[in-house]
Each structure stands twice: as structure tokens, then as C-alpha cells.
Symmetry: C2
């Protein structure tokens, strides 16, 4: 039975029970949110991945994009990225491979991952068409839907589908002055396909068939924002919002069929528009879980885009975004390395946790308080144990050993914490 | 003539003209803000450092803390940190040395720095008292004020003085339940001193003498927040706000004497309280420039505290904070290395710039647009030239050379930007 169907009958599945327990929530409340579609648990009925909840009132989750490109396509490296992402605390991974044996890579990732796995099946369709020598523009509707089914059969839990890039939306985009035009790979494939074939986007036209397929596997759909802004200048513009109005329709249609749905968001958004961007998605899409890529709050920081994404992600999550796609320091420059993946996950976890504290998610602030209590006691072992990334914290401290084990080399003997302990002891004594 | 006195007579000094031109502002407007005290230009009349404006309507500035501790006190390393900070774009540096020959270190930094230099003279007084074998608690009022004068004579442009940590405020702190008590070094020195001597803080008691000295050198005072929160749990509490109400009085008294004043702020602040923290300073201190340390939006991220500070700093700057003290990845773990300094400055510059874009600071968004236009044209040379940190951007790209020079290894041949260029060319042709 599908998660959403079960929830609508008031039944808590094993996955719901697990998520409720993990999040410290009342399971009844969770069931209601799943029934309404404001929370989803992306889990293919064929997969044995961990049940992870995304949405209203839950802890903000992090996704790590991994996968090959034609320029760098080594399976072992991708599995090492998967391990690094999971170890760093990613709640989900997406395999975006477009290079090498992408079927084998996807299957290996699905097999090995303990967390939900997402993909973008149109990449598969495009790569196949290209390898067959037909070129992407000759993809058929069946190629596109077939790729989704192939991924579903492999146990993928959620798929990005750019169903909102319709002919009408493409026309909006053409009329909207943009600096960066279309920066989504899937979006650009469909823009080219529609421009060449003069026909409607098959993922929109055959949306009902897609929903049937999703029902078969309890596949969650992530409605991709093919026209997401790729520059601050393009944020919240008519092209983006036109697509979001179509996505709104698609959310309601999916929910009517009991298909769990999340909505993807930007991209590049100036700081003062991040909240509006989240608010708009929440109102247009009736509170559907919002999955944002960053957003990046500046275009000028290649090499530091993980930081821009952490700023945007924290503000977005505070405003209601539920699922943050990480951005690594390599963004805009190269395919991320294993180290980039690790840094990206931890960096976005800072953002997610900060937002969870700000929103009052149960249990979030307690972690900070525990660490600060250990810090107050100069209990370094406990400080490091409780750190987001104990390995990095330990390495930093070990690289600069203090003369006095109780202190650190930042303030040395002038440690305020130790001094205040002495002051208070004298006062108390 | 003092900056503030000149401004009040409606005269624009060379420094004001330089700041106005640098910021793209009308000089008359700037003169008015300096007269009111909502903008300051910290520049000792003996110093030849660059004139940098801090405050209302100006670009958000970054300070880099450098300096030795008793555990790590090498002059050459500190000068290398100074160079790295300036090269990375720090607008000011503070020398917080407490180890080695701190007089020589300070003078070398003042001599070499092109940007304004700040210090915390009470460290000097404390180190001297300790080295004399007297212990910090035996510092006299003259020791404390004398240290300020020594720094002023050396050409330091701004000094942190914890004048707001009065006996009454200390009592407030004692009655306020806190996890981290007092984490400011200067604050803890004064707490200890007052507890031992049972006397008022000399920096408060002799504030008028301090202001006289400031007038002599046109020294800017930065009213330190000795009770800044060192844990999320302590943010915006009675201890912090009690000190801020005293600082409010001190701002008005300094302004009445024509002494330029900035106010220091937290610290550790949960995301949802950052804006309130800035609003409170702005209302209590009549719009005095606000200089925040981060703020850090989580306690759990040692090793990633620069990221937490970038999140907090961006939100604070957007809300009106004017001057962000960087936090490096080494915060809470060790004295920062040269690399930590560089990473800290660039990371906080992402935050400052993002806020400047959000606030509509003149010229800020244009930078993003220029870079995005270069990206749209696949003009990699220009993208790297316009990047915040061109060296890092180039290193990332060079480490993963694409098969096709026009692309990068992230998407390889499936580059959306190139595809869209082709689509648009066909449409246009």
C-alpha cells in the first residue's frame, strides 16, 4: 500500500512510525501531514533505504548530489563520495551521473546507500539517445517515461521530473529578460527538445501515465525547476514563477492520485528575496515540501559557493524550506571530489541545524546546549565528541597543542572560561 | 581637527572625501552621518592607514583578528596573517596579541598595515601586570588608561574598551542563569578585577579621561561587549542587555565630546534572534555603527564556525550591522593559521556582500551581474578574474581540467549554458 493511501485511511506504516520516532513526533500528527501531502517519505516499495521524512515541522534535511560526468566517470570514486556524504550526515543522495556506465553506477549506489536515493531520469534518456547517435532531440516520450520506469525498477526512491517546463512556460522564458537563461540540465534538454520538435513536453503531456508508474513503485516525484534562476538577476522572475504555477497544478494532480510530491526551488536568489521565494512555493503548492538548491545568495563566490548556499539555505529553511540540496566548494568549477562532498554536507548541515534551532524543532537546541555546557567545563573530549564533525575539530586542536591541556592556543593562559570559573569559585566560597 | 568636530562644522575632511568617493556616496550626506555618529572613520591622527567608513548606508566591512597568544607568539607569522587578511580583502585588522613582545608586534602591525588597526589595550595592561608578577587584579586605573594611551601613541585607529562592564552589570550577570558565563577575555579580566577589588570598573569611572585621550588622537572607541553571549542559550539575555543599556549612555557621552564610537555585539545568537539583537543595538545606541563577532548561529560546529558566522553575519548585516568581525575555521580550537585567516576573511566577505546586495548598497549587485554575464558567455578567464578569490577559483578548475576548454567537468558535454546558447541561436537564426 502506498504511503499516501495508507495515511488517508489513517494507517501508520512502518516508515511513518520510524520517522515519527526519529523526529520525536506524534505519529498521528505525522500521518495527517502525509495524508495532506505536507510531509513525504520518499521510499520506493522495492527499496530498503532508511525512511526519511521531509516537510512541515520536521528536521531540515540535506541532500548530496553525486554522480559522474562524461569528463570524470569512475564508479569507485562515486561510491567513495556516497560513503563520505552518508558519513557526514546526508539524509539523501542523488545520483546525477551522465558519464560512464550510468546503469551500473546507479545500481551500485542504490545497492550501497543506506539513505534514500534520487535520480534525474531524463539524463538517462538523453545519454541513451546521444549514445545511439540519434541526438537528444530525437528522444521520444516513451524514452523519457521509460527512463523513469527503469530507475523505479532499480529501487530509486525519488526522481526529479521537469514536468513544468511546458511550451507556454518556455515562451514565458523567451520573453523574460534573463542573464543566465536556463541553467538546469534537464530544463535545457526539454527546452531544446520542444524548440526542435514544436511539441509539448511529454513529461507534462503524459503526466497521468507518469503518476500511474509512480503509484506502482510508490515513487516520490520531485518537480524540477527547469527554469530556476542561475543568476541573482533572474531570481523570482516571470519565467520562474510561470513554471511554478504549472508545478502547482501538478502537485494537486499528484496528490489526487496518492503520489507523494516535493517541489524543487532555486538556485541563485539575493538575500532579500529568499523568504519570498519560499513563501511563494508554499502558497502556490499548498505547503508541498520545498527542496532548494542552496539557494546561493551571490554569484561572485566560486570556490565559496558552499558558504553562499549555507547562508541562503539557513534563511530558506527558517522560512519553511524542508530539504536543502548541498552545494560544494567545487560548484561552477568542477565535478566535486570526495573532500568537496564531505565539506558540502557538513557546511549545509550547519545551515540546516541553525534553522532548526531558529524554528524550534524539537531537540535541536539541546545539542547546542550540551556542547556549550561541555565547553564551559573545559571538557575537551566531550566538546569534540559532540561536535558536528568530531574528526575535523580534533584535527584542528591537535595541530596546535596547547601548553596547558585544559586550554587552547587561541587565548592560552588568558582563557576567559577558566578565569570565570575561578572568579565564581571564589564568590561561592 | 577631529573627524566628528569637522563634520559638525559641515566640513568634509580628506578622509570623508575618500570614503565618499570609495563608496559612491554624496560627501555631504556622509558628513551629516559622521556628525550624527551613525558613520565613523576610525583613523588615528598619527596613522597613515586607509580611511575606511563604517556605518549607515555604507558597504558592510570585515575585520580580521590576528595576534599572538602565550602559546604561539611569532612576529613573522602574525605579519604573514596581516598580509593574508589584507590580500583577502579585510577592511581592518585587530591585533589581539597577548604573547611574546606585544609592543613590538603591535608596532610592526601598525607600521605594515594599509588598513585601520584596532587593539584591546586591557590585554596589554593585564600582560604587563602579570609579567611584573603583580597579577591582573593589581592593575590600577592608570595601568588601564595608560595602555590605551600607549596604543594611541603607536597609531592604533580604534580600541576596544569594556567600559560597560560595571559593578551593576556584573551583578546582573551573576543573577542571570547562563551556560557560558563570560567568554570575552577583556570582560573576564574586569569581572575578576571588580570582584577582587570591590571597586567600579575604571574604564567606566574614568570614562571622561578616556574620552579626553581619544580626542587627543582622534581615537575611535569600540565599546566592547564584555558580557556577549558565548552560547546560544545566553543570547539577548538580561546580562547582555544590561551592559548594552550602559553602553547606550556611553555612546551619547562620547558623541557629546566628539569622539567616534562603535558598539560591539555578539557572539552566539540563534538565527531567530539575530535581527532582534541588531534592532536592539540600533535603538538603544541611536544608530551607532554595530560591530558583530559573527554572530555564530550554532554552538555545535567547531571547525565550521566560519560558516555559522557567515550565516549570522549575513542576517545581521541585512538587519543593519555595519562591521563583521570574521571568525575562522579555527575558532574555539586553536590560534588561527595564515590559511585560517584567509579562509575566514573570504568566508565573511561572502556574507557581507550578500547582505550588501540584499540591502541595495550601490554597486553591490553589479558585481554579481558582471560575473554572471561572463559565466553565460562561458568566458572562463573573466569568470575567474571577477571571482571573490580568483586564486582559489582557478585552482579548483585547474585541478580537474575539462576535455573541452569551454566547459567544466561538472556537467561536461551536457552543459546547460552551451545548450541554451545553441537553442537561442537557432531560434534567432
Amino acid at each position: 500500500m502506498l504511503q499516501m493511501d495508507a495515511a488517508r485511511e489513517g494507517r501508520a506504516t512502518e516508515e511513518m512510525k520510524s520517522v515519527a520516532s526519529e523526529e520525536g513526533l506524534d505519529v498521528r500528527e505525522l500521518v495527517e501531514k502525509i495524508a495532506r501531502g505536507t510531509v513525504v517519505i520518499p521510499k520506493n516499495r522495492l527499496s530498503s533505504h532508511r525512511a526519511v521524512g521531509l516537510g512541515e515541522g520536521l528536521r531540515t534535511k540535506i541532500n548530496a548530489n553525486i554522480g559522474t560526468s562524461a569528463d570524470a566517470s569512475d564508479l569507485e570514486t562515486e561510491l567513495a563520495k556516497l560513503d563520505a556524504a552518508v558519513e557526514a550526515g546526508a539524509d539523501a543522495v542523488m545520483d546525477l551521473s551522465t558519464g560512464g556506465d550510468i546503469d551500473a553506477i546507479r545500481r551500485a549506489i542504490v545497492e550501497r546507500s543506506p539513505v534514500p536515493v534520487g535520480t534525474v531520469p531524463i539524463y538517462q534518456a538523453a545519454v541513451r539517445a546521444r549514445r545511439d547517435g540519434r541526438g537528444m532531440i530525437s528522444m521520444t516520450a516513451d524514452d523519457m517515461l521509460g527512463a523513469v520506469e527503469d530507475h523505479a525498477k532499480d529501487g530509486v526512491d525519488f526522481v526529479t521530473v521537469h514536468c513544468g517546463v511546458t511550451l507556454e512556460v518556455a515562451e514565458h522564458c523567451r520573453r523574460t529578460p534573463r542573464i543566465a537563461d536556463v541553467v538546469s540540465r534537464g530544463g535545457s534538454f526539454l527546452m531544446e527538445w520542444m524548440a526542435h520538435n514544436g511539441r509539448e513536453n511529454p513529461l507534462y503531456e503524459r503526466y497521468d501515465d507518469l503518476l500511474d508508474m509512480c503509484r506502482e513503485y510508490d515513487l516520490t516525484i520531485s518537480l524540477g525547476d527547469g527554469l530556476r534562476p542561475g543568476a541573482l538577476a533572474d531570481a523570482n522572475d516571470a519565467a520562474q514563477v510561470a513554471e511554478l504555477t504549472v508545478i502547482s497544478e501538478l502537485v494537486f494532480r499528484a496528490r489526487a492520485r496518492g503520489v507523494q510530491t516535493i517541489v524543487e526551488g532555486p538556485g541563485h536568489v539575493p538575500l532579500h528575496l529568499v523568504e519570498a521565494s519560499v513563501d511563494l512555493e508554499k502558497s502556490l503548492c499548498d505547503g508541498a515540501p520545498f527542496y532548494v538548491l542552496g539557494p546561493l545568495v551571490t554569484d561572485v563566490a566560486p570556490g565559496y559557493d558552499h558558504v553562499g548556499a549555507a547562508i541562503g539555505g539557513a534563511i530558506a529553511a527558517m522560512a519553511g524550506a524542508d530539504f536543502l540540496c548541498y552545494v560544494t566548494p567545487a560548484e561552477h568549477l568542477r565535478l566535486p571530489t570526495v573532500d568537496d562532498v564531505r565539506e558540502g554536507v557538513y557546511t549545509l548541515r550547519v545551515a540546516a541545524h541553525a534553522a532548526d534551532v531558529g524554528k524550534g524543532i524539537p531537540g535541536a537546541r539541546e545539542w547546542d546546549d550540551r556542547l556549550s555546557q561541555a565547553r564551559r567545563s573545559l571538557d575537551w573530549e566531550e566538546v569534540i565528541r559532540l561536535s558536528l564533525d568530531p574528526e575535523k575539530a580534533k584535527a584542528f586542536r591537535d595541530a596546535s597543542p596547547p601548553k596547558d591541556d585544559e586550554l587552547c592556543t587561541m587565548c592560552g593562559e588568558f582563557c576567559a572560561i577558566r578565569k570565570m570559573t575561578q572568579v565564581r569559585e571564589r564568590e561561592g566560597g
